[in-house]
């Protein structure tokens, strides 16, 4: 089936993403993996036959994923299956690795992120990212949150104050830090630092939030706070989360993509493949692929 995204949306976002340029007519290939109930209107991102090479090594191949508005999409699978590689294609962070080569397409509101209409900086502004380990800048709490707005415009002091407060409130950190905004971000605990990083990502008002194992460096209590926060904000910021923790995927996500590794015909190192993508309920209760079933029942990985 061939879908045309509404032309109005495309031209509007094209104009916002990058100066002029012809509007792409987007044809999405038939997506056998996606959930049956997806209504195309709430699609925000879609990858089509996405594959990534590092030099000659094919790290992950043939990934067809659809990310929906208002939802949390979890990417799970064993180590080395390409989950992080895929999530880094969604905001062009792989551009920073000189040997990485991205094939296939990633559409954001119908625009190819790797096409001539997309500027990497603007893509990353719209598709925010939270990393595995909290990575606050060596600046004050306030300046950490204000960094994004400052590089993406020239907000006044009052605007910045307001943005910082709103973002910290959104990330459920305001009450804990409102009296010490000028202190170094390193004075916060690990869980607070990660919520600060979420606030920093939200401060530029992204359309999607990518989270690459955001809780792997945190204790269970801090993890629970982040999970609550994700559930709170997902209606405004659709989230794609990579996680090693299947329980986490089951707890927080609406859809789950299970990745696995396989060794290709002429390859020596395993390549990641997308095995199954469905609603989280189906993946955990009623998987169609035996590999998925084995993985979630703990007999593999």
């Amino acid at each position: 089936m061939v879908e045309d995204m509404s032309n109005a949306t495309i031209s509007e976002t094209t104009a916002r993403l990058r100066q002029s340029g012809s509007v792409v007519s987007v044809s999405l290939s038939s997506d056998s993996h996606s959930a049956a109930d997806n209504s195309q209107n709430d699609l925000i991102m879609q990858s089509v036959d996405l594959q990534v090479h590092y030099g000659d090594f094919l790290a992950v191949r043939d990934v067809n994923l659809a990310i929906h508005k208002g939802e949390i999409t979890a990417l799970i699978g064993p180590s080395g299956c390409g989950k992080s590689t895929i999530i880094r294609c969604f905001n062009r962070m792989n551009d920073l690795i000189p040997t990485a080569k991205v094939g296939g397409k990633v559409f954001y509101k119908g625009i190819d992120l790797y096409g001539p209409e997309a500027n990497a900086g603007e893509v990353r502004r719209r598709i925010g990212m939270v990393f595995q380990k909290p990575n606050p800048f060596p600046k004050s709490i306030y300046d950490n949150v204000a960094f994004g707005p400052r590089v993406n415009g020239k907000p006044t002091k009052a605007e910045t104050d307001e943005l910082v407060e709103r973002s910290l409130k959104r990330a459920a950190l305001w009450e804990e830090v409102k009296d010490r905004l000028k202190q170094s971000a390193f004075s916060l605990s690990g869980g607070q630092q990660q919520r600060l990083c979420i606030a920093r990502a939200l401060a530029v008002n992204p359309d999607v939030l990518l989270m690459d194992e955001p809780c792997s460096a945190l204790d269970p209590i801090a993890t629970a706070r982040i999970e609550d926060l994700m559930a709170e904000i997902k209606s405004d910021y659709p989230i794609v989360i990579v996680t090693h923790n299947m329980q986490q995927a089951a707890r927080v996500s609406d859809r789950t993509a299970f990745f696995n590794t396989e060794i290709g015909a002429n390859a020596t190192r395993p390549t990641g493949v997308l095995v199954e993508y469905d609603t989280t309920r189906n993946i955990f209760a009623n998987p169609t692929d035996t590999r998925t079933e084995q993985y979630i029942s703990g007999r593999m990985g």
């Binding site: 905001n91 962070m93 920073l96 000189p98 900086g121 603007e122 990353r124 502004r125 719209r126 925010g128 990212m129 990393f131 380990k133 990575n135 606050p136 800048f137 060596p138 600046k139 960094f147 994004g148 400052r150 590089v151 993406n152 170094s184 390193f186 990083c197 920093r200 990502a201 530029v204």
Partner: protein
Amino acid sequence: MSTASVSVGELQPSGRKLRQQRSERIIQFLLMIVATSGVLITFGVVFALVRPSVDFFRAISIGEFFGSTAWFPLYEPPDFGVWPLIVGTFSVMLLAVIIAVPGGLAIAFYLSQYASDRVRRKLKPLLEILAGVPTVVFGFFAINFVGPNVAAKIWVFSDVGFYSALSAGITVGLMIMPMMTTLAEDAMAAVPRSLIEGSYALGATKRETCTGVIFPAALSGIIAAGVIAMSRAIGETTIVLLAAGSTANFSFDIGQPMQTMSSFIGFAGLGDQPTGSTGYQTIFAVGLLLFVITFFLNMLSRRIVSKFREVYE
């Protein structure tokens, strides 16, 4: 309660193991001697400087040393006002730092963030060659090129002659720039990759990442590099001796010839001062002053570095 009978030596090493343990102790002792010798040498240097300096200050009062602006210690009658040397030293040092710090930083940013692998592999060895050029060669470069072609052209406030503090300062700056580059680059390389990615993930450009994240995160290392560059510039002798002239000129006009503390020592220490004479002792007094100044600069840099240090994780 009975235990299995154990001979006394059971838990003691024997044979080869015993010899190894002894050599272990010898190595530890030798390493300790090497480590403490560094401290002893420093004390030796201070002692060697202080003794003749004490004799000097018996003959010439500290008031005269710091109270006069005429420096003719080897003339008859002599003048022992050290200010011309201090002014000369700081003029050359400031000029060198003005050239080397921004230049070194720019090169470090280019090499660590902008240059492709191929360019970096070609440029780095070239910089290392520049760092290995003997200072006397730089001195001739100053006289033959920097003096007439650069200093004389850019300094419009006075006539720049063959010798000038400006020409010496520029050349010293060029000489220490590779070192500044290497140290600044190391400081930037120590900035965690996750911080740089965090900046790009917010839509920052390369320049915004450099000035907004990498520079502040590397600041303590960059300041330390700047202070080391400063100390090198203060201590540099040969270039200044050749290019600045040997006139202890009390002037703030960098187009004029000047003498620095180290170039005075190099100039006066050639051996025609009889041992024990006041002229001979002058060399040590100036050396002591130089030592004290660099010592305080080092202390200051430690303060600054620990103030700005950011600990990651």
